[in-house]
């Protein structure tokens, strides 16, 4: 059986903080790809499971079976769901990246500032103010669904409809989350529409 290697394998690394839904978003991205018949994997790296601590998650998507269980060390795409991490764990965020790595950042900073902080003058960079979208749509800084919309637009790794299906199934399965489904679908769409590619 052929296994995932080379260009077919998409490797994504997420950096967020506990309680913001980063692990959930990473899993939803893999799940949406699985809905589309691909192989997907999302592996959280748990430290201490506490709100506010940095969280790192690996997502892999491929047309072929994914063997490895190692965390993503050389991500093609880095997603930062909490902007403050750019200051506190920049070295961890940048680890294993190069000038070809695509960065997607949830922030209200202008692109130049993000480039300067992360020292990524030439990388492909996408910016979305997902926290603002989340606060406006459902009043809590849980930016993950808006970030997912941005990821769909920026990478084309999954289509928006697959993400909608995944989010709908996940929220409807939970009595706590069910009422928040419309707002999160809106956040997903806004993330898709409002993300922009920096010059």
């Amino acid at each position: 059986m052929s296994t995932a290697t080379g260009k077919d394998l998409r490797e994504i690394r997420w950096h967020g903080r506990g309680g913001q839904g980063t692990v959930t978003a990473a899993k939803m991205l893999a799940s949406a790809a699985i809905i589309r018949g691909k192989h997907g994997q999302a592996m959280p790296e748990f430290g201490l499971e506490r709100s506010g601590t940095p969280v790192k998650v690996s997502t892999r998507i491929s047309d072929h079976i994914i063997n490895t269980r190692a965390p993503v060390d050389h991500p093609e795409i880095v997603i930062i769901t909490d902007p403050s991490l750019m200051f506190t764990i920049k070295d961890i965020i940048k680890s294993g990246t190069d000038e070809n790595t695509v960065f997607i950042v949830n922030t209200n900073f202008p692109p130049d500032k993000v480039r300067k902080i992360l020292d990524i003058p030439n990388n492909e960079l996408w910016i979305v103010d997902a926290s603002k979208i989340a606060l406006e749509e459902f009043g809590r800084n849980i930016p993950n669904t808006a970030v997912l919309g941005a990821v769909a637009k920026a990478t084309g790794i999954v289509d928006l409809d697959a993400l909608k299906q995944e989010i709908t199934e996940a929220f409807e399965a939970s009595s706590k989350l069910r009422a928040l489904l419309p707002q999160n679908l809106k956040a997903l769409e806004r993330g898709y529409e409002e993300v922009y590619k920096a010059d």
Partner: protein, 397 residues
């Protein structure tokens, strides 16, 4: 071939799904990471009336196993789950279960043992169970955990021995992957109805009263243990039959071991659990460099697949055994000693080296496994020497 659907599940979700489909009669539950979530998912099925399971919340893992022994002896299809220190606390009763010959399933969501305290994955907990007389099967991923749990019910009841299904804590239990799920009817047909007479001496058969757990004086204890010994050797055939039967459903046959590119391999790496996929990727990269390497995964750990291992290693020049637990005994890790013993069953006498890796959740990369192969080759060729059979693969000194 059965109807299937592919969905995204974590290892714990896949295990809970198997438990729901099997519809166990009794589940004893006590929380410990990373297993807690599994019984949390299953508790929802119980609360929603999707299963008929009597879920018994107990006051500790020792009690969980005692509860299961009583339920299983009565004739109930029984399961519990634990991890790390919870397994350690259960061990006394694991011997009772296998000695009484009660079939049941124990899910071990593999976790390190204290001290220092770690909730993360290694196989130290499972190694505590290796001499308890339980059948033991390891799962590489959520898909295998799901399949192994379904097969384990049948293996256990046919063999009349309890069975442990292992899957790695967090790496499998909390990670999402695509899992092919069978339809409920197929699973229920496969495991069959849970009538108390599916086992020979159900305690609740009041027409034929029996005693479980009686005392044996020195004049009979040995005979009891000898019967257990002889019957445990029959487990190989039972597992083979159930693997055959399951292959009819899933269209793919599981074996006691999985071999990867071993046909012409000079050097072979051996591991269990979630690291095997990474080991396969390491083999692929070394093959690209022209190295004749291969890999073996142990699926059936107890009883140990001696003949299959001896056959698979019958042409190897060197073997590197990758242990996710240390024995602290001056010899090597538990799997190393098993493999070294199995090699007595072949004329071939390969050079065997042992690495300890992945303790307490330490992530493992293919480059590290490539280094293990490199060290093996250098040792085998006499380019390097060693002071001990066992070394640590990933350590800051």
């Amino acid at each position: 071939m059965a109807q299937t659907k592919v969905i995204a599940l974590t290892g714990n979700q896949a295990a809970a799904e198997a438990m729901r489909q099997i519809n166990f009669d009794v589940a004893a539950v006590y929380p410990i990471s990373p297993q807690t979530e599994l019984m949390g998912f299953f508790a929802e099925y119980v609360a929603n009336g999707e299963v008929d399971t009597e879920m018994i919340a107990v006051d500790g893992e020792h009690s969980a196993m005692a509860t299961c022994i009583g339920a299983a002896a009565a004739g109930a299809r029984t399961i519990t789950a634990s991890a790390g220190p919870g397994i350690a606390y259960m061990v006394e009763n694991l011997y009772v279960a296998s000695g009484m010959r009660v079939p049941m399933v124990l899910l071990d969501v593999n976790r390190a043992l204290s001290a220092p305290l770690s909730i993360h994955c290694d196989h130290a907990d499972s190694m505590l169970t290796r001499d308890t007389g339980w059948i033991s099967i390891f799962s590489e991923n959520a898909q295998e955990a799901y399949h192994n749990i379904i097969m384990s019910v049948k293996i256990s009841e046919k063999a009349m021995f309890p069975i442990i299904v292992n899957y790695d804590g967090y790496i499998v239990s909390h990670s999402i992957e695509d899992v092919e799920i069978l339809d409920d009817e197929t699973v229920r047909d496969f495991v069959g109805p849970s009538d108390i007479h599916r086992i020979p001496y159900p305690l609740l058969d009041t027409d034929k009263p029996v005693t479980y757990g009686a005392t044996a004086q020195p004049d009979y204890y040995t005979e009891c243990k000898y019967q257990q010994h002889v019957d445990f050797l029959k487990v190989y055939d039972v597992v083979r039959e159930v693997f055959d039967e399951f292959a009819q459903i899933i269209g793919k046959r599981y074996d006691f071991i999985e071999e990867y590119k071993t046909e012409d391999a000079e050097y072979i790496g051996i591991s269990m659990g979630s690291s095997f996929g990474t080991l396969k990727d390491a083999v692929d990269r070394l093959r690209e460099q022209g190295k004749k390497v291969g890999a073996i995964k142990i699926r059936l750990y107890r009883p140990f697949p001696v003949k299959e291992i001896a056959q698979a290693l019958s042409k190897a020049k060197g073997v590197v055994v990758l242990d996710r637990a240390d024995s602290f005994d001056g010899i090597g890790g538990p799997l190393f000693k098993d493999i070294a013993s199995a090699l007595l069953a072949t004329e071939n006498n390969p050079f065997v080296h042992n690495f300890i890796y992945g303790l307490g959740g330490r992530e493992i990369h293919e480059e590290e496994f490539m280094r293990a192969f490199d060290r093996l080759e250098r040792l085998e060729k006499g380019i390097e020497t060693r002071e001990n059979f066992v070394e640590y693969l990933q350590v800051r000194e």
